[in-house]
């Protein structure tokens, strides 16, 4: 499903000519199979987010290739990436990343709108999903009128709306309290079981890491895999 081959990434900072090169990832190889939950852990600054941003196409790798669903996404241009993301990937972020000027409903509906679905069809699909995440009473609320947990559920609804086979999550529980975190983890497991959605989750939280079928640790820019039998 996701295959990373010899992936390296370096950041360049400073002015041209006097750049400092910061190597973050070095020759990463990773394979995530259909229906797996894989969690990535590592110390702060180890390059977990960088790895996910590379797989999401937000940044381009210095070296190496990434295949998603047998597509060599490293060769994609911006426009192709956009379409690929819309149809194949769902995203959950630590700070939710909801559009503040849109209601919860509009935020979830957005992907359908971008895809060009009719208004009526959008409404039924979005409402259905709101029921599923248990937020049907809050559809017309703006993000600022929702709690952190509610906002994260809205953002999960947004990630699910186009039924993507893969969901990428960077510290999805980072802004939530312990109880809400548990609810969210249960929901992720449920989605994985019922719908077979593949998850790649980045975290530094033990509890979150443990829901993974596999846990992968990044140390000094390289991967160390810990098999987990849960």
């Amino acid at each position: 499903m996701i295959e990373v081959k010899g992936l390296s990434h370096q950041f360049k900072i400073g002015k041209k000519g006097k750049e400092t090169i910061i190597p973050v990832l070095e020759g990463i190889n990773l394979k995530v199979d259909y229906g797996e939950i894989v969690t990535v852990v590592g110390r702060s600054g180890s390059g977990k987010s960088t790895l996910l941003n590379l797989i999401s196409g937000y940044i381009q790798p210095t070296e190496g290739e990434i295949f998603i669903d047998d597509h060599n996404v490293t060769s994609f241009n911006e426009s192709k990436w956009a379409d690929f993301r819309l149809h194949n990937l769902g995203f959950i972020f630590q700070s939710f990343q909801l559009i503040l000027s849109m209601t919860a409903f509009e935020n979830v509906e957005l992907a359908l709108t971008l895809k060009g679905v009719h208004e009526k069809e959008r409404k039924t699909q979005t409402e259905k999903l709101f029921k599923k995440v248990g937020l049907e009473k809050f559809m017309d609320h703006y993000p600022s009128e929702l709690s952190g947990g509610q906002q994260q559920r809205v953002s999960i609804a947004r990630a699910l709306i186009l039924n993507p086979p893969i969901i990428l999550a960077d510290e999805p529980t980072g802004s939530l309290d312990s109880d809400t975190e548990d609810e969210l983890l249960d929901f992720i497991k449920q989605l994985n079981h019922e719908m077979g959605i593949t998850f790649l989750i980045i975290t530094h939280d033990e509890k979150v890491a443990k829901i993974g079928d596999r846990i992968i640790e990044i140390v000094d820019g390289a991967l160390v895999e810990e098999e987990y039998a849960s």
């Binding site: 937000y58 911006e78 426009s79 956009a82 993301r85 149809h87 000027s101 992907a111 060009g116």
Partner: protein, 450 residues
């Protein structure tokens, strides 16, 4: 993304900053109104002048005034035959003056005027109409001009005519009866050596011409056929009945006596359609005839006005370009403000081209709104100008301006041109902000770093 949704998106975004959008639309509307009002003066003057020229005139007429490069510069029968043979020529009218100090008498009434020799068949084809009676059939029948009766005065034998100061005949001397069927005596003179001899031709009035189309025109002529002219020529011994007075210099006399052909003084070619006037006119101009047609004149006027109008539209466009700076600013600010939203949209899979299109729709929507409001305002200003300016001018100069004279006129093409220019300018000014929107970095935007 559907256009409808993109448009909805744009409207929602615009609602968030009503004042800024309003000011930008206002500036654009002012630019458009300025352009339309400025150019409408060009259109208005052109329309009024063209209407003035074409009023009551036959657009299909080509007047021929002579021929270049020949000693004999008059138009002769040969030329007329040539004109009649051209394609798309409906009729060729030719008028000649009888070269005499014409004296006409009906009973004891007398008038002075011109005897005009016309070719009735071609005149009829060209639109010559009678108000009464019929066209001549026999050789000695004539048609009189509409105002001939007015110029007849009872003659008291003295030289001074019984006229009012303005040249009209005094009421008590006016001819009151009807003229059709009356005999008209046409006096003709010629010198034989020193001696003056005269002859009177008796002709019968059978028809009266139509009233001239223009109010100030006055037609006291009599219209005779070429057959009557031939009789006159037989008496005078000169073409067109020219009088050769004894005190004329010898050279001129010789010239006159040598002349054999009749000269046609007012020759007009009538085309079968306005569209063919230009071709005929060019053909005969190539043959070195002096030709004039309203169409020719119109073409020159239209060329001049085309330049004037283009100039005015160009100046107006500058106003729109200035307004477009406002659009550029508004759009740049909109992109900056919405960068986090753009970043999130890109993160979940919005295509850069969609984002670009949304911003271009927004800037052209502002442009379109401006153009529409500008057009409405321009129409109002034009109404005001056309109502107010004649009043001001007639007060200032003490002379009334002709009633239907329009200073400003907005043809449908003008708002369309303006909307077109406005859209092009606003899309161009929105292009850079829109491109900037597509370049928003997803990660920076999500970290609220933009």
């Amino acid at each position: 993304m559907r256009f409808k949704d993109q448009f909805k998106f744009v409207r929602q975004n615009m609602k968030k900053n009503k004042t800024r959008i309003f000011m930008t639309v206002l500036a654009t509307a002012m630019g458009c109104a300025f352009l339309i009002v400025l150019a409408s003066v060009g259109f208005g003057l052109q329309k009024s002048i063209v209407e003035e020229i074409t009023q009551d005139r036959l657009m299909t007429e080509i007047q021929v005034h002579g021929k270049e490069n020949e000693e004999n510069a008059g138009i002769t029968m040969d030329d007329i035959t040539y004109f009649e043979g051209l394609d798309h020529v409906k009729a060729v009218t030719r008028r000649q003056m009888v070269d005499q100090q014409g004296e006409f008498r009906v009973g004891e009434f007398r008038a002075e005027g011109n005897a005009v020799v016309v070719d009735f068949p071609s005149e009829t084809k060209a639109g010559f109409e009678l108000s009464e009676g019929r066209l001549p059939e026999a050789d000695n029948e004539v048609v009189i001009g509409h105002d001939f009766a007015e110029s007849l005065a009872k003659w008291n034998g003295k030289e001074t005519a019984p006229l009012n100061e303005d040249g009209t005949v005094k009421e008590e001397f006016k001819y009151k009866g009807k003229l059709i069927g009356e005999t008209l005596n046409l006096g003709v003179k010629q010198y034989e050596g020193e001696e003056e001899k005269s002859k009177t031709f008796d002709v019968k009035i059978v028809g009266i011409g139509k009233k001239p189309t223009k109010d100030w025109e006055w037609d006291p002529n009599i219209y005779i056929s070429e057959k009557v002219l031939s009789e006159i020529e037989a008496f005078t011994g000169t073409p067109n009945g020219t009088v050769i007075t004894p005190n004329l210099p010898a050279e001129e006399r010789d010239l006159m006596e040598q002349r054999k052909d009749r000269f046609y003084s007012q020759v007009s070619i009538y085309a079968d359609d306005v569209e063919n006037v230009k071709t005929i006119s060019e053909t005969i101009k190539d043959k070195k005839y002096f030709a004039y047609s309203v169409v020719d004149e119109m073409e020159q006027i239209n060329t001049v006005f085309l330049i004037v109008k283009s100039g005015l539209i160009f100046i107006g466009t500058i106003a729109i370009i200035i307004a477009s700076i406002g659009i550029y600013n508004t759009m740049t600010m909109a992109v900056t403000e919405r960068a986090p939203d753009i970043g999130i949209m890109k993160a979940i899979g919005a295509n850069p081209s969609t984002i670009k299109r949304i911003f271009l729709i927004e800037s052209s929507y502002i442009g379109l709104l401006g153009a529409i409001f500008g057009t409405i305002v321009a129409y109002l200003i034009t109404l005001g100008v056309n109502w107010l300016l004649p009043i001001i001018l007639s007060n200032a100069f003490g002379e009334p301006i002709p009633g239907d004279f329009k200073f400003s006129h907005i043809p449908l093409s003008l708002p369309l041109i303006c909307i077109g220019i406005c859209l092009v300018v606003t899309i161009l000014s929105g292009l850079r902000p829109a491109r900037r929107a597509t370049k928003v970095d997803v990660l920076k935007a999500m970290r609220r770093e933009v």
